[in-house]
Amino acid sequence: MTRYSRRTLLKGSAAFAGAAAIGFPAISYGQSEKIKIGHLTPLTGFLGALGAYAQLGIRMAEEEINQAGGVMGRQLDITSEDSVNPATAATKAQRMLDQDGALVLMGEINSASALTIMQVAERNKKLFMQIGARSDALRGKNCNKYTFHVDIPSTVMVNAVGKALVRDNMMKDKKFYTLTADYIFGHDLGRAAKAFFSANGGNLIGDELVATDVTDFSPYLLKIRQAKPDIVCSNLAGNQVTNLIKQYAEFGLPYPIVGFNLNTADAWAAGDGNLSGTWPTVWYHTSEVPSSKTFVTNFTKKYGKPPENHAWIEYVSLKMMAQAMNETKSTDTTKLIGYFEKETQFDILKARKAHFRSWDHQLMQEAYPFTVKAKGQAKDKWDMLVLGGAIPAANESLESIALTKEQNPCSM
């Protein structure tokens, strides 16, 4: 074993430090200081409005964490980009890992783009916290060891609204007509809806696939009128939902309308008096939970408008990621996966804590059905929804609304 004198060691260290300071300060700073995170979310296209909120949410969490001293004393550095489409999303994810030095990937709302990023994560053996895409298939037959899913999946949304419909006598022997978004998420939601109808005595008399770029729904509305259903049900996504709601109100069809997917931004854009029926949500800014209220106050002060559910979910997701890195004192993929798979409990600003289920990496959390406030009862233009009680109820297990092992073909 070679022994170095203290003097040699000091000289050597000084030389390295000097060279680092003069020669390549930026590189050494980047490597030892900041924790880089690659963030992708759609900023254009039919989910662009949601992605804009997602960015605000993750930015706010980043600032809060960095102001409080960062993670393990290192600052977080989030690179956030428009994921555009599934192919571009995969290319960008690969580039973030290869060239930008991202240690983990986060984000996404579009289920098709989330799927391609999941493949990139698996190939590169890097962690991907898939925040906002809701297709069952992502945590089902397409699941992989490197991906964790935060938002509620299609089946949970269907169960949240479906249970409310059963309670209101709007399910058994009723004729349903559904409109379904023609991509992976819509197909999944449609499948979950059909399963719920047949299990609870609902009668599906028509189901139409609708392309994601449809702006005019009038031909579909005519078909609905011809079919004379008892209830119209939306399995649409993003801008589609807003367009349908606006034109449904325009035509004034007499059948009640409900839906298994709606984001708050789509509801806000629907226009005064146009929205009705029962819909699901993962979170809403009028939640009475104290920590949630603090978040809403801070967000509103910072951005001048209340947070949408995608802002909330990105905010709590980065907080969960930071907690995992702090507790494991590591950014190592295997260690982080191990931490989440332990089913660690996380505070996500809801009454109940949440945890990632170890066998399919799905975050187990409460969901809510909501209805719409009567005209004139809203305090402001953001305050238009009435949040129903959390599903499942406090005395029921979170598993009761989730996919069971038999229903979910996930194997890692």
Binding site: G51, V214, T215, D216, P219, G252
Partner: protein
């Protein structure tokens, strides 16, 4: 009964065609007279929608439907005077590039001013709901749009065919060199055409804001359909564009009746088939400068 349902889709398609027409007619006029494919046309549609939402907030629905197209039409004058004018005799690829760039700048500008989240807009109470005529269901609001489109169409037709202004414009489409030889400068006419064209697009945006989502990318969504209508109709033909708009609306409606998932693809198939049979479009005239 099946036939009745189909007929209802056909009639609805005609109504929808009226809306496509508002956007496509201006695009076609600018194309025919200036030889410029205005890819920024959708941006004016979006601006019309945003302006109408803002004006509705202060002055109400009626004034917004009038003022928004006028305001955007004024913007069109600046657009023609300072940008478009430089590209009439240039390589067409240059005007494509500049209007495409402008469309992107406009979309981002909307995002900066109004934010990425969609704006909320509703139909005034009087025009809500639908009327049933015989077996057919019509949205009251769309009937209003149809009436407005019919009026605009009549006005434009009269302008082009019964006034000296229209004679110069029509001559300018066919033989700009002859018009110049007669000592008539086409530039002021072009300014007026662009103002009218983008004003109509803005009117489309204003009327559709209450029934479609108002968001920054709405212009990019409409420009493709408008372009398809212009191509199917043929250049330089007023009635070609009118027929094409109705045809696109009807074909889409019928396709959705039978194969809903193919609704949006059907209009491109239609364009493909028509171009196979009539490369200049349905009523396209032989225009020397484009041959």
């Amino acid at each position: 009964m099946q036939f009745g349902f189909l007929l209802e889709q056909v009639v609805n398609g005609l109504v929808l065609g009226g809306y496509y027409l508002l956007i496509a007619l201006g695009l076609s006029l600018i194309f025919s007279v200036g030889g410029v494919v205005n890819l920024a046309h959708g941006a004016f549609y979006a601006l019309g929608a945003y302006a109408s939402v803002e004006i509705t907030r202060y002055l109400g629905f009626g004034p917004a439907m009038v003022l928004s197209p006028i305001a955007v039409g004024m913007l069109g004058i600046l657009f023609e005077r300072f940008i478009l004018r430089r590209f009439y005799s240039a390589d067409p690829i240059l005007s494509l590039l500049v209007t495409f760039g402008l469309a992107m700048v406009a979309e981002q500008a909307i995002r900066i001013v109004w934010g990425a989240a969609p704006l909320s807009a509703s139909i005034p109470q009087v025009f809500r709901g639908s009327v049933i005529v015989g077996d057919f269901l019509f949205s009251r609001y769309r009937l209003l749009i149809l009436a407005v489109v019919a009026l605009v169409l009549l006005a434009i037709w009269l302008l082009l065919h019964k006034t000296s202004f229209g004679r110069v414009v029509r001559a300018g489409i066919q033989r700009p060199d002859m018009v110049a030889a007669l000592g008539i400068r086409l530039q002021p006419y072009m300014t007026a055409i662009v103002m009218l064209g983008v004003g109509m697009a803005a009117m489309g945006g204003a009327f559709f804001a209450p029934i479609t989502i108002v968001h920054p990318a709405m212009g990019a969504e409409i420009i493709t359909v408008a372009f398809v209508v212009v191509v199917i109709g043929g250049l330089g033909s007023f009635w070609g564009v009118v027929i094409a708009a109705m045809l696109v609306g009807v074909v889409r409606g019928i396709t959705i009746h039978f194969v809903p998932a193919a609704g949006e693809a059907s209009i491109y198939v239609l364009m493909f088939l028509i171009l196979l049979v009539r490369p200049r479009g349905l009523l396209g005239e032989r225009i020397e400068k484009f041959e």
